[in-house]
């Protein structure tokens, strides 16, 4: 889909190139993440792809077509772009901001309005709340989401995203990442994604391109990058605890079957059943669900002694937090650390209980790999 050949950029007045002889091929539907230290040329590479910067040398092919021969404005209209500094237009409402490209393309008003609503919801901004606000009335993280919505509103087949989740807190960031992956699974866009955060790179990518001082050091799948870093620089970049990083690569639903720990208790279960299940449980607790398999709560060993009651419903307590089955194992680990338990209940998108993951399960995954 995107092919860079010997791409070079020397800024006027500089003697060292910002990007040097870069060769990179990104397949259709892939997410390619550019990583590397600050100033290594990630942004410059991106801006050459949509021709905000004219390359000093080299070629860019998009769908086999020479991008340098194309009309830059037409080219850009079909490439979604999330700029590093967000760059929202301060004098336009959020709705107007998001509608920028549709307005440039002169879509009918109705279609634009619908589509704006849709993408705002997609990035987790309630259109009714936010569409008439001006950017100054938004938090940094919210602005960043508007930036993402603005880039994807016209459904461009290619997206360039320069640190799109840089300004949000780790929890929101994880949520946005998961949403992003869910959307991407459906849309299958070709995406170039820049980040400073190697964990984010491993989680989001189909391939990772490591850059240093304008040069491409290694371009590989995340798991190859982890198991076979090209040199010292790359292995330092991915860090020492590489096996833990694998937790980013594996989704919960991929291991859930292997760790299945029997059926959850129905809320109407009798005390005897509860005791029996508790005795078998390796987490000294049992999960309780209702008739629709929705999570009801959890019963620990102590709850049974402390409380009086007939059926499971009477004993159970709320769970502090759950996780969806499309999150990564690393997300599961974060949640466990956060709620201070050795396990976390897994639910699907409709909030139905899917299983439980424990610290032990994570340990096993890490051990197997190394």
């Amino acid at each position: 889909m995107i092919k860079l050949e010997g791409l070079t950029k020397v800024f006027p007045g500089h003697n060292i190139p910002a990007v040097k002889e870069l060769n990179l091929e990104i397949k259709e539907g892939d997410v390619c993440v550019l990583v590397g230290p600050s100033g290594c040329g990630k942004t410059t590479t991106m801006k050459m792809i949509n021709r905000l910067y004219e390359p000093t040398g080299g070629k860019i092919y998009i769908r086999g077509e020479d991008a340098l021969q194309m009309d830059p404005i037409k080219l850009r209209l079909d490439i979604g772009y999330v700029i590093q500094e967000i760059g929202l237009f301060p004098h336009m409402t959020i709705e107007e901001n998001v509608a920028t490209v549709p307005n440039e393309k002169q879509w009918p008003k109705d279609k634009t309005r619908e589509k704006v609503k849709e993408v705002m919801t997609l990035v987790g901004l309630d259109p009714d709340v936010f569409k008439d606000r001006y950017p100054t009335a938004l938090s940094g993280g919210q602005r960043q989401r508007v930036g993402v919505a603005r880039a994807m509103v016209s459904d461009p087949p290619i997206m360039l995203m320069d640190e799109p989740f840089g300004a949000v807190d780790p929890i929101t960031r994880a949520r946005l990442q998961n949403e992003f992956l869910r959307i991407q699974e459906r849309m299958g866009k070709t995406i170039v994604f820049v980040t400073h955060d190697i964990d984010e790179a491993i989680k989001m990518s189909d391939t990772i391109a490591v850059m240093r001082e304008g040069e491409l050091i290694q371009h590989d799948t995340p798991s190859d990058l982890l198991s076979a870093p090209a040199d010292e620089f790359v292995s330092n970049l991915v860090g020492r605890n590489r096996s833990i990083k694998r937790l980013h690569l594996i989704r919960i639903n991929e291991i859930l079957e292997d760790v299945s720990r029997g059926k959850p208790l129905n809320e109407d279960a009798k005390k005897d059943d509860i005791e029996k299940q508790l005795a078998e449980s390796d987490i000294r607790s049992v999960i309780v669900v209702d008739r629709d398999n929705k999570l009801k709560g959890v019963i620990g060993v102590n709850d049974l002694k402390r409380k009086a009651g007939e059926v499971a419903r009477d004993y159970c307590q709320d769970v502090s937090d759950t996780i969806t089955d499309d999150a990564t194992l690393n997300d599961a680990l974060s949640v466990m650390l956060e709620i201070g338990e050795g396990y976390v209940a897994v639910v699907n998108e409709d909030d139905r209980y899917q299983g439980t993951i424990t610290l032990g399960d994570l340990l096993n995954v890490v051990k197997e790999d190394s």
């Binding site: 801006k47 905000l52 404005i73 850009r76 079909d78 500094e85 004098h91």
Partner: protein, 240 residues
């Protein structure tokens, strides 16, 4: 709505009313024959017409030239010249209005047209500078985002740069109008006519009534214009 009528119609009418009352009283109750001869409705209307002519012509021209020039100088190809121009304009603005009129008189002689031309040139300065500074002040990453999304340079100018710079351009217009109204009262010294005529006549024949009439009308004109553009200024920014 009622508030709007009050702001845009009520207060201006009151100001004009005060000035009109003073004029009507003075013309009907002249202190002596000299005042009676020199302060007539005809004369008052003539100087007002001249004054408005000075303002309107010079401000219209200055706005067109100032805004267009500011936009041109902010384009990348002329940007360097723009920076130099900023310095020159700052010095130019320090030159007092009387000096400007006097110098134009020595070059072009007396008359309405000379006065208009001097006012026109003098009023360009704040408009040109603010237009340039306003566009120059638009953050680079905002322009880059617009370009990156495929906006045409002309659309970037009209949809992004000018709207963001607009409050600053209006502030420049306000400065220009205040300066212009003030300088227009000096036009009389180089034969440009206007409300200054009334004041100067009053001073030369030592009749306070004539002086006050000229001064009141000039002051009300200035205050009214400044008031109105100040209200516009309050309205233009919904987003900051």
């Amino acid at each position: 709505m009622l508030r709007n009528i009050w702001v845009w119609v009520g207060i201006p009418l009151i100001m004009i009313g005060i000035a009109a009352a003073i004029v009507i009283y003075s013309v009907n109750n002249p202190t002596d024959s000299i005042v009676a001869r020199m302060l007539t409705y005809e004369r008052v209307f003539r100087v007002i017409r001249e004054h408005m002519g000075l303002l309107l012509v010079s401000m219209t021209g200055a706005t067109i030239v100032g805004v267009a020039g500011g936009i041109m100088l902010s384009r990348p190809s002329l940007y360097r010249i723009g920076r130099v121009m900023e310095t020159i304009v700052n010095i130019g603005q320090t030159v007092p209005s009387l000096a400007v009129l006097a110098l134009f008189y020595t070059i072009l002689g007396l008359g309405f047209r000379v006065a208009v031309f001097a006012l026109f040139l003098y009023s360009i300065l704040p408009i040109l500078r603010n237009t340039f500074a306003g566009i120059d002040g638009v953050e680079h990453n905002i322009i880059e985002a617009a370009r990156g999304m495929g906006m045409h340079p002309l659309r970037i100018l009209t949809r992004i740069e000018l709207p963001i710079a607009f409050p600053i351009i209006v502030a420049g217009l306000r400065t220009a109008i205040v300066i212009n109204v003030g300088a227009a009262t000096l036009a009389t010294f180089i034969g440009g006519g206007g409300l200054g005529d009334l004041i100067v006549t009053g001073l030369s024949v030592h009749r306070d009534m004539i002086i006050i009439n000229g001064a009141v009308i000039a002051a009300v004109t200035a205050i009214l214009l400044d008031y109105l553009i100040g209200k516009v200024e309050e309205r233009v920014v919904r987003w900051a």
